[in-house]
Structure formats: C-alpha cells, structure tokens
C-alpha cells in the first residue's frame, strides 16, 4: 500500500470553502493530514494515477474522502460512481459535503453508495460544527477496513 496517503482527501473546487474546511479542521483535528483536489479530474488522478478509474488499483487510499458534488469537468457524482464501482476503492468511506439540498442529489448519492451526505451550512459557526463532527466521527470513532 502506498504510504503517502492522507487522512482526508477533500475534493472541492471552491477556494473559499476549502479555506473554511482547513480552518475548521485545524481547530477540531489539528493533527489530521489533509490533501485537497481542486476538481474531479484532479481527485481521480491523485487516487488512481494514470490507471483507469473504473478498474485500476489506487495509488493512494485516504481514510476518508470528502466530496463536493457540483464541480467543473468531472462532477462529484461521477467521481463517487467510479469510486464505488471499482472493487479496490469501494470500501473507502466517502462523505458528500455539498450546498445542494436537492432531493435527487441526495437520493442518487445514496444509490451510488455514499457513506454520508452533509449539506454545507450557510453560517460559518455551523460549518465549523459540521467539520468538527465529521472529522471526529470518521477519523476517531469509525472503524474502517483500510489501513
């Protein structure tokens, strides 16, 4: 297994939202290693290298992937679909963190096998609370099969 794996891979195209995530994570889990992919394409190349995402073995297995949905080029839903189709990455926990409250997004994410679906709160204090909860739950309490 590759050893450069971060605790969290954040896939987020908004610089502002990434900055808030970093700030909030620093407060709640200062030791957690975070890697940021700026869109779906970057996320797939980080995880699979040059391999075909649907079948290749991953070159990086984070403990958790936090995924925005609406992104240019390859959307979060598409990244999710590839991750959950590929037998080698299917077990990586994926949390959707999105502005979308659309029911169809929620339903589709769960149908594709998302492990959790969170809506980004408008209020920054609430946003910090969400990041705190998700990092403590997925990095400390949750048991996952990945090393």
């Amino acid at each position: 297994m590759p050893n450069n794996a971060p605790d969290i891979l954040l896939v987020e195209d908004s610089e502002d939202d990434s900055a808030f995530f970093v700030i909030a994570l620093k407060v709640s889990a200062p030791l957690a290693q975070l890697r940021i992919a700026r869109d779906g394409v970057e996320a797939l190349s980080l995880i699979f290298g040059l391999g075909a995402p649907a079948t290749a073995k991953p070159s990086m297995v984070p403990k958790l992937i936090v995924l925005d949905l609406k992104m240019p080029k390859i959307s979060g839903l598409e990244v999710l679909r590839l991750l959950k189709t590929n037998v080698h990455t299917r077990a990586i926990p994926v949390v959707a963190l999105t502005s979308s409250q659309e029911k169809r997004d929620l339903v589709e994410c769960y149908q594709l096998g998302v492990n959790s679906y969170l809506v980004k709160p408008m209020n920054f204090d609430r946003y910090g609370e969400v990041v705190r909860n998700l990092s403590s739950y997925w990095l400390q309490f949750n048991q996952s099969p990945n090393p």
């Binding site: 502002d16 999105t98 502005s99 979308s100």
Partner: protein, 430 residues
C-alpha cells in the same frame, strides 16, 4: 309498372259488362249499401274509355320514369329469383346489356356476394317483405368498383308477388365521405403532433426551470457562506479589539448574509412547489393542524396561548402540502399575536354554498386592509422586519398550494384586531 298496367288492360274485355252494370258494387253484392265496407277490386274494376286513356298516359309516364331513372331498378320473380326486368341505368351501372341481365339471379351480377347471401336475402325478404343494405360494394362487368345502397321490397301484382329492387349508386358520396374522413384523420394527426411538440416544449421549459433552481440552490449559497465565513474570521482575528463601529458592521454583514440565505431557501421552496406533483388522498385537516401546532408550541416561550382547533370536515388533498398550509398560517398567527396575552388562535370552518371554507384566526397585530392585495405575493410584506421578522414567502406558498388544489384564499383584518385567513380546496372537497 308495365306488368300492372298490362294486367289491367288484359282484364278489360272480361269486365266490360260490368261497366254497363255499374262499376262499383258494395262488397259481396248484397246490396246493403254500407259504404264503409265498399271495396274496389281492380279485377272487377271496369274503367271507362277516358280512364283507359289516363292509364295509358300513366303507363307512359311511369315507363319514362323507369327508363330515365338515375337509380337502378330491377324486377325479380320471387319464385325463380330471376331478374325479369331491368332499367337502362342498371346496364349503365354494371355494364351488363339488358338481355344479359334478364334471367340472371342477383348474386350472378354481383349484387349479393354468393348463393348463400342470395338465399339469406330472399328469406329475409319473404319474412319482412323488405330488405335494405346501406352500403353494398359491387363490381361491374368490366371490373369497376361501385358502392350502392340496395333496397328491395315485395308487392303484390295481379295476385302474384313481385320483387322490386332499387339500387342507388353512392360511389361519389362514399368517395367524398372517405375524403372527409382522411381529412379529419390528417387534422387529428396534426393536432396530436402539435400536442406532442407543446408537451416537449413544456418539459424542456420545466427542465430549464429545474436547472435554474438547482443553480440558485448551489451557486447563490456559496458566496453567502464565504461572506459569513470571512466576516467570522475577521471577528476572530480582531479578537475583541475591533472598534464599536467595526463590530457593528461585521455583525450586520453576517445578519444580512443569513437573511439572504433565508430568502434563497424561501424562493427554492416556492419554486419547488410548482414542480411537485400533487399526491391527493382523503385527509382529516384537524389532525394536520393539531400536529403542526404541537410542533410549533415549544417556540412560543412562556406566553399564554389559547388554541381552539375545531373538528374540520375531511377533504381530498395532498397531506404534506396541506400540512404546510396550516404550518405557515399557524406560524403567522403565533408570530403576529406574540405580544397578546393571551394569544387566541382559532382554526374552524363553515359551509359556503357548495364549498367548505376553512379558516385560521388570531387576535394579533392584523394588517391594513388597503394592502390586502399584496398579502399573498411572493416577497411582499406588510410589516417591517424589526417589528415582525420574515421573508414574505410563507403566504405566497400557502396561496400556491391552495390554488394547486383548485381552491381560493383570502383574508380579513383590522389593524390591532387580529386577522382571519380563509381558504377553500376546490368544490370537490367533501
């Protein structure tokens, strides 16, 4: 016709004596003189000389009718079932020369499709003395297709039954009918196509609207979150060292970002209503109203609230949406009566002609009647935000839900004397 007159002429010599003795005699010749039982028997009837001439004129007249008719006429012997006479139009219609028609049976010239049909027709004719086929396809001798209407009846002639067949050609009428039918079919097809097209356009417009809402939902919220987030970071950085003015400004930025967020939520909720399909079922509205009130009660902190929810008649409605109606109306009722002690809220109904009218009443701040028309418009408010908070979407949502159920909504109020909101759910409400 010819046979009738010929029969009369043939009887003339034998009955000539009767002319002398008087041509009309009472029935049975018993001399009773009862005119009601007078029968004129054409076999003993002896016309005078002038009348013979009249009969000949008549013979010529009817012969001409027979010859010139633009309907085919056949005389058939019911015993042999063979044609004994045919008018010229029959020849014109079917292409058989007159001599060829004589002695033939009807099915042989294609008038009835086979011997079995021939037999059936004659049996019917015997039973009812009348046969009519509205639409009989014929083939002429030269193979041309003719549509005809066929009427046949039996009458007595000279003591014997005779069958007369009238055959009217309706090929042209049928052609016109077929043409009209095709025209109508074509128009129908065009109409259907137009409906399909319009439906597709409507679907596309809906999809666009959906994409639009999606975009609002996602893209408008992100900058707001950034405004709120960075202001919060500023507050943290100043760590309480900011001036009063700066603190106030940062506070206002965050409050406004939150307000804008609520407006977006409201707009999304409002636009989402148009797309949502109604799932109607039989609903007990009072239960919905009570459930809503139980959910709202914890928010009315310590204030005394008297609530009276009447037993409301059942109705056909989408329960989720009707619950939203009660939620919005009761939220308003609580909000605008929060400075009353006690607040008095009543949910009731009345019968108005064939409609059930539901109402939600409070004893709160009310509104100025002259602005009533703005009450149900989206983002319209009749109170300042510092008096009563809100986005102006709640009543617009209520109106849209009510109207989607085929109902109406209106309100009555006086400033400081509370407000009553009435609504119906269409005439089908039980």
């Amino acid at each position: 016709m010819r046979r009738v007159t010929r029969a009369l002429v043939n009887t003339l010599p034998a009955t000539r004596a009767a002319v002398v003795n008087g041509r009309v005699s009472p029935n049975g010749g018993d001399g009773s003189g009862d005119l009601r039982s007078l029968i004129i028997d054409h076999r003993t009837y002896a016309p005078r000389a002038g009348e013979i001439i009249n009969l000949r004129t008549s013979e010529i007249r009817y012969r001409r009718l027979f010859e010139a008719a633009r309907d085919g006429i056949l005389i058939v012997d019911p015993l042999t079932r063979k044609i004994t006479d045919a008018n010229p139009f029959m020849t014109e219609l079917l292409g058989y020369p007159h001599e060829e028609l004589l002695g033939k049976e009807l099915w042989e010239i294609g008038l009835l499709k086979d011997e079995a049909a021939n037999r059936a027709a004659f049996e019917e004719l015997e039973a009812r003395h009348y046969v009519r086929y509205e639409d009989l396809p014929l083939q002429s001798k030269t193979g041309q297709r003719r549509e005809v209407e066929f009427v046949s009846n039996v009458y007595e002639e000279d003591g014997q039954d005779v069958i007369q067949c009238n055959i009217r050609e309706i090929t042209e009428r049928k052609t016109i009918e077929t043409k009209f039918k095709r025209e109508i079919e074509k128009l129908n097809a065009e109409l259907e196509q137009r409906v399909v097209l319009r439906t597709a356009e409507l679907k596309a417009a809906n999809a666009e609207l959906e994409a639009f809402s999606y975009s609002i939902s996602h893209d408008l919220r992100a900058p707001l979150r950034a405004m709120d987030g960075f202001t919060k970071i500023l507050e943290t950085e100043f760590n309480g060292n900011a001036s009063e003015v700066a603190r106030h400004a940062m506070g206002r930025i965050r409050v406004n970002a939150a307000t804008m967020g609520q407006l977006i939520e409201g707009l999304l909720a409002f636009s989402g209503l148009g797309r949502r399909a109604l799932a109607k079922t039989t609903v007990a509205p009072a239960n919905l109203a009570r459930a809503v009130f139980e959910e709202l009660r914890p928010k009315s902190n310590g204030q005394q609230v008297e609530v009276d929810i009447a037993e409301l008649p059942a109705c056909e409605a989408d329960p989720t949406l009707l619950k939203q109606v009660f939620a919005n109306l009761l939220t308003n009722a609580l909000k605008y009566s929060r400075d009353r002690d006690p607040a008095v809220i009543k949910v009731g109904w009345r019968k108005d002609k064939d409609e059930t009218v539901y109402f939600v009443q409070d004893n709160g701040a009310g509104y100025e009647a002259k602005f009533a028309h703005k009450l149900f418009q989206v983002f319209q408010r009749l109170h300042r935000t510092d008096q009563f908070e809100g986005t102006g979407v709640g009543l617009a949502i209520v109106r849209r839900i009510v109207e989607r159920h085929g109902g109406r909504i209106w309100a009555e109020s006086q400033v400081d004397h509370g407000a009553t909101f009435f609504f119906t759910l269409g005439k089908h409400a039980k």
